[in-house]
């Protein structure tokens, strides 16, 4: 109980007549509600509109590359490297946690099963920071064999461009499930030469070492598209319209700038005239 005069003269100890809460309790509730609304505003106002580009944030957190996955029509999405290149999602694997205590189960970070260089403190930070280490796990399984060829740098994160014409990278697609199944079978039979990336899977598939009838090997690009991408005989008429438009703009530019200036002169003249009348009225009557 208070043994001194009330803080701020008891201003925040005033109770509401209905529930009987002090004002400071209402203040707490108000701050919590504002926090909730702020969270929602950030999420829906700033974060969600960038949904196709969230991969950049996740890649930055995981310290991996970021990837743009496009289909053959170049409809794309930015994802982390793990989503673009790893066949398996190791977080979905079954881990035997029976011997662990309740707290150990709660802080269990699955990459520690595969990677030796994660100490306890980092494991806890990564676990609660939701950091994905699937790329490093897959690389380790493939004995360091990993394809990386960033085409650009986006926000300091190297960006890979992946063209996936057969939905291999869509986790729920039948093609992905077939790849996962075939790769698992291969890995069980060849523990020293495991497949954990789509690139390696494709290499084995083309070499005929594995068979996966559910997936396509290639995609046809028409000559029309190739010729548009690598034009050899562009006519000047392709840009003659733009050239004439520019010529017209140049021809009119002096005229147009003088017309714009005319508006400013008119507005300034009338404005000064009004000011003169106002000053004359003020000096006359006061």
């Amino acid at each position: 109980m208070a043994t001194a005069p009330l803080f701020l003269g008891g201003l925040l100890n005033i109770v509401d007549p209905v529930i009987g809460f002090q004002l400071y309790i209402w203040g707490w509730l108000l701050i919590l509600v504002v926090c909730g609304f702020t969270w929602i505003a950030w999420y829906y106002g700033s974060w969600k509109p960038f949904a196709p580009l969230h991969g950049l944030y996740h890649a930055y957190k995981a310290g991996s590359n970021v990837a743009f996955i496009f289909d053959q029509n170049l409809i794309g999405e930015m994802v982390s490297e793990a989503d673009a290149k790893c066949i398996f999602d190791y977080s979905k694997w079954d881990y035997d946690l029976g011997v662990l205590s309740f707290i150990q189960k709660k802080i269990f970070y699955y990459p520690t099963v595969f990677l030796d260089d994660i100490d306890f403190l980092h494991a806890v930070v990564y676990k609660f920071g939701n950091i994905n280490k699937n790329v490093e796990i897959a690389r380790k399984f493939q004995n360091g064999e990993w394809e990386r060829s960033p085409s650009a740098v986006c926000g300091g994160v190297p960006l890979d461009i992946v063209i996936d014409t057969d939905n291999w990278t869509l986790r729920k697609s039948p093609q992905h499930k077939a790849i996962e199944r075939v790769a698992t079978q291969w890995n069980e039979m060849n523990p020293d030469d495991q497949i954990h990336s789509y690139s390696k899977f494709q290499r084995k598939l083309i070499a005929g070492e594995i068979v996966c009838p559910e997936v396509k090997l290639d995609h046809l690009v028409s000559w029309t598209r190739v010729d548009a991408g690598f034009p050899m005989d562009l006519e000047e008429s392709d840009w003659a319209g733009k050239r004439r438009q520019m010529a017209e703009q140049m021809y009119d530019s002096d005229h147009m700038s003088k017309n714009r200036m005319a508006i400013y002169v008119l507005v300034a003249g009338v404005g000064v005239a009004v000011l003169v009348i106002v000053i004359r009225l003020i000096t006359h009557y006061y």
Binding site: M1, A2, W42, S149, V153, H219, A228, G269
Partner: protein
């Protein structure tokens, strides 16, 4: 008889005025500051923490903010453009498109790009965008670049076999179209010129329907850019267009002084008249 009032001794420090109350949170463990103030500061700290968390999170997306911002300032004549600079930095901007030519709003930037490949237009989150790079004056189409390099690599690696195959395909093509031209040269296609001179013709005879790409491809800029023509920078293309546009105007008669200055002079005249009227307008003479 007067009423006797007896007051009980009261500690003034614990008297609570009417309408107020004290509770467990009014306990003041330190320097008379009640516990509820610490709780309030803690909640305010959470509020600050929420905002700092989101600011830091959004800061990671700063480099792609142009994706949303360019949409806001876009007009009918504008298009979103993803730029890959010479040092391979990706930025997203908004450019004007007229007659398939992209040009920046800032007229002091003379770079221009020709959108020749409509199938090279990408779509991210429902927004269409053109991909361009500083060193090529056409829009990019990654699928085509990969397809061409795959085809040329195969072509270069299997020359002897291809010579036989090409001859066989040519004989087959002759049956369908007797006018089909025989590819004269069979040697590796190593650059853009070779592709243009004989490479395309050879590849089309081998694969008449088109080129194939693997189902899954990681775009490799070092490998897939070798067929780009050199000396086709966007600045050069834009500069040439500006030069040509100036040349077009050389044949036109320049506008006369009156055509250029008529409105300006009229506006100046009206402004002067307005000033004069304001200066000479009679005030207070009627009173």
């Amino acid at each position: 008889m007067p009423t006797e009032l007896i007051a009980n001794p009261t500690n003034p420090s614990v008297v609570v005025p009417t309408g107020m109350s004290i509770g467990p949170f009014d306990w003041a463990p330190l320097a008379g500051i009640p516990f509820w103030l610490y709780v309030t500061i803690f909640f305010i700290f959470i509020f600050i923490l929420v905002n700092v968390y989101w600011l830091l999170r959004m800061r990671r997306l700063a480099s792609v903010r142009g994706w949303a911002e360019s949409l806001k300032k876009m007009t009918q004549d504008d298009v979103q453009v993803w730029f890959i600079s010479r040092v391979q930095r990706l930025t997203i901007e908004c450019l004007t498109i007229k007659d398939n030519i992209l040009s920046p709003h800032d007229q002091s930037n003379i770079g221009m790009w020709h959108v020749n490949s409509p199938q090279g237009i990408i779509q991210v989150g429902g927004n269409k965008a053109v991909v361009c790079s500083e060193d090529f004056d056409q829009n990019r189409d990654f699928v085509t670049e990969i397809a061409l390099c795959h085809a040329c690599d195969d072509f270069n690696a299997n020359q002897e076999q291809l010579k036989e195959e090409l001859e066989k395909k040519y004989q087959e093509a002759l049956l369908i179209n007797p006018e089909v031209e025989k590819p004269r040269v069979i040697k590796p296609v190593e650059d853009c010129n070779a592709y243009e001179v004989y490479g395309r013709q050879c590849l089309q005879v081998i694969s008449p329907e088109g080129l194939t790409i693997s189902a899954y491809n990681i775009y490799n800029p070092n490998r897939f850019r070798k067929y780009f023509p050199r000396g086709c920078s966007a600045m050069f293309f834009g500069g040439e267009l500006i030069h040509d546009a100036r040349k077009l105007n050389l044949r036109r008669k320049p506008k006369s002084f009156w055509e250029v200055h008529a409105f300006l002079m009229m506006a100046g005249g009206i402004g002067m008249i307005a000033l004069l009227v304001a200066w000479l307008f009679p005030i207070g003479t009627g009173a």
